[in-house]
């Protein structure tokens, strides 16, 4: 959970960047060369380096996104202009890995990502305390990035949360309504049998097939945008509904028929008997089914691949219609990346996914306890 940071003293003159109201002018900030500012400040630590190629090698030690980070810092902290400010710049992922002892120095120099010279610089910086391992706050506050050092998990977590929200919102009521229909209203016959067989079979259909269905139905036919939690949630809801229906019907059947008779005997309609008495009593079972379905959906990657949720998205999603990714897909993408530093990020993301699942299950258990009634 740690990340190598390099503290740098940076001074930026606010004269050219601030507008009349004292805020940073977006247009001017865009044109300003933040990168060179950072690099210059960084190179001050190494007065002996002068050749062009050495400078280039030196620059590689800091994250290529540090210019952007500095810009964001100054936009947020306007008072920091015009004075020397200490900013922690993220070091590049190679530096990070080297400091954590995960960089193999035995392989020949030309095959390594860090040259001997760079290693010597890092060692020097490390002994002087110019590079430090600090808690990687960035990992929890930002979304994906090409650079491991600036990639974070928040985008995927928010994406997962939004997607699950849509899934539960769609699948729970639909499945409960379908179950009530099948248990109480459907006339036994060929059609009902057909529906039943299909629901049971749907629960066993490979998830990627649901992805294909979502692709052709939601994206091609309805023309919804790709990669959004809304569509992701709808596809996962399709997948979850059969599971929830099966669980719901089982728990509706487990409610003693005498309860239904009692309500009907009082002159309640079938619907009232179901909604007022049977469904509340079946709630623990329904919730368990929903949890199982949701937990399955949360860990699902395949159907989301089909609807474009594998996209590389660097913004944290803000709505159901903003492009996003989800945790398992994020893990899949990171595990697939070449950079060694993504390896630890995948592990962390997996832990996050597990924690997320535990959280959902806990909520469910608490809800079940609340609804459970004894007789």
């Amino acid at each position: 959970m740690q990340q190598a940071y390099i503290p740098l003293k940076i001074q930026v003159s606010g004269e050219k960047l601030l507008n009349s109201s004292g805020a940073v002018d977006a247009q001017k900030a865009l044109l300003f060369n933040w990168d060179s500012k950072v690099k210059k400040a960084f190179r001050e630590n190494f007065p002996e380096v002068s050749s062009r190629s050495d400078k280039k090698e030196l620059n590689r030690l800091i994250s290529s996104n540090s210019g952007y980070d500095v810009k964001q810092f100054f936009i947020k902290n306007v008072e920091a202009f015009n004075s020397e400010t200490l900013i922690f710049i993220t070091a590049s992922d190679d530096v990070d890995q080297y400091l954590k002892g995960r960089f193999n120095t035995d392989i020949p120099e030309e095959d390594r990502r860090l040259t001997d010279k760079q290693l010597k610089w890092i060692d020097g910086m490390h002994s002087e305390g110019l590079v430090k391992l600090k808690f990687n706050k960035n990992f929890f506050t930002s979304a994906d990035s090409r650079e491991p050092e600036s990639s974070g998990i928040l985008g995927a977590v928010v994406g997962s949360a939004l997607t699950m929200f849509v899934t539960v919102l769609l699948s729970l009521p639909l499945a409960v309504m379908a179950s009530i229909y099948l248990e109480y209203f459907a006339k036994p016959g060929k059609l009902t049998d057909f529906i039943e067989v299909n629901i049971n079979n749907l629960a066993a259909v490979p998830s990627i097939v649901f992805g294909l269905l979502g692709l052709s139905l939601f994206l091609s036919f309805f023309g919804l945008p790709r990669s959004i939690p809304l569509v992701g949630g709808m596809v996962l809801a399709l997948m979850t509904i059969p599971t929830v229906i099966i669980a719901t019907r089982a728990s509706i059947r487990a409610v003693p028929p005498s309860i239904k008779d009692a309500a009907l005997g009082l002159g309640a309609s079938k619907m009232q008997a179901a909604l007022h008495h049977v469904v509340p009593l079946a709630m623990p079972g329904i919730l368990t089914g929903t949890i199982i379905g949701t937990a399955q959906a949360l860990g699902e990657t395949a159907p989301l691949l089909m609807i474009g949720m594998v996209a590389f998205i660097i913004d944290v999603p803000t709505s159901f219609t903003s492009p996003s990714t989800v945790l398992p897909v994020q893990i899949f993408m990171w595990a697939d990346s070449a950079e060694r530093a993504f390896y630890e990020r995948s592990s962390l993301a997996i832990m996050f996914l597990v924690a997320f699942l535990i959280l959902i299950n806990l909520t469910a258990i608490i809800l079940r306890r609340k609804f459970e009634k004894k007789w």
Partner: protein, 252 residues
């Protein structure tokens, strides 16, 4: 006395099996009519025809004429929901909702919109409990779960619940078969009280009970109505030999 129910040539099939065959029976108003007979003779089936509870059973087909106050029970224009509000039912096993005592009684009036205010609903609940002879036992614990009561109390909760809807008829399907003799005695006493306001039809396995509580008795055997008449006559001087054999315990 006026006839509450008039039935003629009632036949009920469960799938291909005939449950009751050609039954014609008139049930008098503000009276207790008991239906007796061995298990599987169709008395419960007949009872459940009277408020269309058979509708919930798959493959059940009812034919014949069934009239409640000269209105066809099985007519398409009649909503079973309205029928059941008029014809309440108490089941064999006490089946209170797993809710509080108050909610159990209040549910019926609530769904039928019988109470306009909370106070009115409260009155209905208390009155129903009183008529069911339960008020002194539960006055202080209306918010407790009804499932925590004893079997006899639970059954009286169910009776109170049926009364709360203010029905005209109360059907009882072996209401005392799951209860001990003391609880049974309490309920039998209650039936006597209730018959002043309601028409009661009771299915029972206990011939003693039928003799004690009912004004009229119908004896069913193998899906047929064997004999129907004044209770006293059925038990002391039956016309049919089968009735004689049953009440003396020779068939069953």
């Amino acid at each position: 006395m006026r006839n509450k129910f008039e039935t003629e040539n009632v036949v009920v099939h469960y799938g291909t099996k005939i449950a009751i065959d050609d039954i014609s029976l008139n049930i008098e108003s503000n009276n207790i009519t008991s239906l007796i007979g061995p298990s599987g003779c169709g008395k419960s089936t007949f009872l459940r025809c009277l408020n269309r509870m058979n509708d919930t059973i798959d493959g059940c087909a009812v034919s014949g004429k069934l009239l409640l106050d000269n209105e066809d029970i099985y007519s398409d224009n009649l909503d079973p929901v309205d029928l059941r509000a008029k014809v309440g039912m108490v089941f064999q096993k006490p089946n209170p909702f797993p809710k509080s005592i108050f909610e159990n009684i209040a549910y019926g009036p609530k769904i039928h919109g019988l109470a306009k205010s909370k106070a009115e609903l409260n009155d209905i609940v208390l009155e129903s409990l009183e008529r069911a002879g339960l008020i002194d036992e539960v006055r202080d614990r209306l918010d407790d779960s009804a499932t925590g009561l004893s079997g006899g109390q639970q059954q009286r909760i169910c009776i109170a619940r049926a009364i709360a809807v203010n029905p005209e008829v109360i059907l009882m399907d072996e209401p005392c078969s799951a209860l001990d003799p003391i609880a049974t005695a309490v309920i039998e006493e209650l039936l006597d009280q209730l018959s002043k306001d309601f028409t009661i039809v009771i299915v029972t396995h206990s011939m003693a009970q039928a003799a004690r509580v009912s004004n009229k008795t119908a004896f069913f055997h193998l899906g047929k109505l064997v004999e129907f008449g004044e209770t006293q006559k059925i038990f002391t001087n039956p016309e049919e030999e089968r009735t004689q054999n049953y009440i003396t315990g020779r068939i069953g």
